[in-house]
Symmetry: C2
Subunit: 300 residues, 2 copies
C-alpha cells in the first residue's frame, strides 16, 4: 500500500507524519507554528525527506481556521480570515501541492479529526455524528448523511450562544468576538480566567467542573436538536478531566427531559457522548484518512 | 407525467393533494386532524377517489412528529412518541401504502417543506440549508450535503436553548418539556402568553417584535455556527409579520460580529435569511417533490 502524508496544523503547533494508519506511522515531526513561509517550508522539507525513502501518494491536512474547504472555490485550501498574525489568506494546500507534486486534501482541524474517529475511532460505521474538541478553543465538525460537514463555510460550533446565568457565574466570557458564547464560557482560557489558575491545576472535585459540565451540556443539547447526531465524540485538553463525561451526560439527559425519545439517549447515553478513541491522535490520523480518500484508495 | 399525491399532516389540520408541481395541483382537500383511524381513512378515501380519474405514482407525506423517517427501521413511517392524544406509535405511511398500493415517502413536516423550497422555492440549487417554521411551534429541517437532515432521529431545532434575560423578559417560556427553549420563548403561544393577546393582533411597532427578533436571531446564530447553511428559509404564521425579517437579519449580523467572514452574511444578508418562497404551500408541494423522488422520476 502506498504511504500517505498528514498535517495537523494548529495555531501553536504543527504535526507532520507519514504512514498508512494507527499502527503504521513511519515518521513524525512536531514544530512550533511561526510565520507561514517558515512553517510551511518545514513541512515541505519533512515530506521531501520522506519522499526519498518512499513515494507519498497524497497529503491530508487538517488546519486551524477559518479555512476554505470548498474544492470548487478559487481559494480552496487557504487559511482565510484567521486572527493569527501573518496567516490571513495563506494558500496552505496549494503551497504543499506545488512543492511536492502530490494531491492534497484540506479541511478544518475538527472535520479531519472527525474523519480519523470515523475510520479508526469512536465514530466507526456512523453517517451523522459530531466531533467536538474542547481545549484552548472549542471546535466542532463531523458528518451529516455520510459527508464531512460543509456549507456556506464550515461549522464554528464553539461560537453558539448558550444561556449564561450572570448571577451564578459573573465571568463575562473570553471570546474576543462574542464574549460569552460557548467557547467564551467553556474553553481553557475561560477556566483560567474565571478561576485564576489553569484548568488542569483544579482538583477533580472543584466547582469549576460542575459549571463546565453545565455549559458543555447546554452546547450539546443545541447540537443534538439541530443535527440529530447518532453520537457525539469529544476530545481536547479540557476533556482529559474524565469526571466531566458523567456530569455532561447526566445534564444533557436532564435538559432534554425525555423529548428526544431515543434509547441512545434515554438508556445508553454512556455510548452516546463519548471520549475521542484516538485521543490526541485523531487529527494526524484523520489527515492520513483524508489523504487516502484524495489518493483514490479504496477503504481497507 | 404521472400524477403524484401529497399529504401535509399537521397536529390540527391535514391537507391532501394530487398534482405534479406548483402550477398543477389538480385536487386538494383539507380536514381537521381527529383520531388516527378516522383521519387516515379520510386521506385514503381522497386518494382512492382521485385514483379513479388517474393513476397515482407515489405519495409523499410530511408529518407532525416525532416520526421515524429511517427507511431501514421496522417503524419507518410511524408517528412515534407524539404528545398528540391517540397518535402515539401510529403506522402512518404503512396505512397509506397498504390501502393504496403505491410507494410512500415519509419525513418530518419541516424536512418535506424544505424539499419543496429546494425544488421550487427559495433554496433552489443549494445543498446545505435550513428551513425553519415559526408558528404554533418552531420546527426545523433542511439539507446537509444535498441530503435531507436525518441522524439519530431528525432535527428538533425549536428545542435548542438560547440566552434568556429574565430581568428584561420574565416570561418563563411555554414549552411543556423545556420551558424557555427557543420554541418556548418565540413560538406563537409564547407571544400570546407573554403579551396577553395573540401575536397577530399586536401592531407592527409593538415591542413584542423586537424581543421576538432577538430570540430568533439567537437561534439562527446557533444554527449558522453548527451547520454553516448556505441560506436560511423561514416560514410559518409568526413570520407573516414581515417587519421581523430586517430586525432578525440585523441582530444576526451584530451577534456574529464579523466572525463568519462570508459575503453572504457580511454583504448580502437580505438574500441569506429569507421568507419561504412557497409560503404556506411549501409543505404540500414538498410532499409532491418527495413523491416524485419515491416514484423514481427524474428531476424536471
Amino acid at each position: 500500500m502506498p504511504v500517505l502524508g498528514a498535517i495537523e496544523a494548529g495555531g501553536t503547533k504543527f504535526v507532520c507524519a507519514v504512514g498508512t494508519g494507527p499502527d503504521d506511522v513511519r515518521a513524525e515531526v512536531r514544530f512550533t507554528t511561526t510565520a507561514p513561509q517558515e512553517t510551511l517550508g518545514r513541512a515541505v522539507e519533512f515530506f521531501q525527506r520522506q519522499c526519498r525513502a518512499e513515494a507519498i501518494a497524497a497529503i491530508g491536512i487538517g488546519s486551524f481556521g477559518p479555512v476554505d474547504p470548498d474544492p470548487s472555490s478559487p481559494t480552496f485550501g487557504y487559511v482565510t480570515t484567521t486572527p493569527k498574525a501573518g496567516w490571513t489568506n495563506i494558500d496552505f494546500a496549494g503551497t504543499l501541492q506545488r512543492a511536492l507534486g502530490v494531491p492534497v486534501g484540506f479541511d478544518t482541524d475538527a472535520n479531519v479529526a472527525a474523519l480519523g474517529e470515523h475510520r479508526w475511532g469512536a465514530a466507526r460505521g456512523l453517517d451523522t455524528f459530531i466531533y467536538l474538541t474542547v481545549g484552548t478553543g472549542i471546535g466542532g465538525g463531523g458528518m451529516a448523511g455520510g459527508r464531512l460537514m460543509h456549507g456556506l463555510l464550515h461549522p464554528e460550533m464553539g461560537h453558539i450562544r448558550v444561556p449564561h446565568d450572570w448571577s451564578a457565574d459573573p465571568y463575562p466570557g473570553a471570546c474576543p468576538y462574542h464574549g460569552d458564547c460557548l467557547e467564551g464560557l467553556a474553553a481553557g482560557p475561560a477556566l483560567e480566567g474565571r478561576w485564576g489558575r489553569p484548568g488542569e491545576t483544579l482538583p477533580a472535585g472543584h466547582p469549576a467542573w460542575r459549571l463546565e459540565a453545565e455549559y458543555l451540556a447546554l452546547g450539546l443539547v443545541s447540537f443534538i436538536c439541530t443535527l440529530s447526531p447518532q453520537r457525539i465524540v469529544i476530545g481536547g485538553g479540557v476533556m482529559q478531566q474524565a469526571q466531566l463525561f458523567p456530569m455532561v451526560r447526566q445534564r444533557v439527559r436532564e435538559m432534554l427531559n425525555g423529548y428526544i425519545h431515543s434509547p441512545a439517549i434515554l438508556e445508553r447515553i454512556d455510548a452516546y457522548i463519548v471520549p475521542a478513541k484516538l485521543g490526541s491522535r485523531a487529527g494526524i490520523l484523520g489527515g492520513i484518512a483524508l489523504a487516502r480518500q484524495v489518493a483514490g484508495l479504496p477503504p481497507e
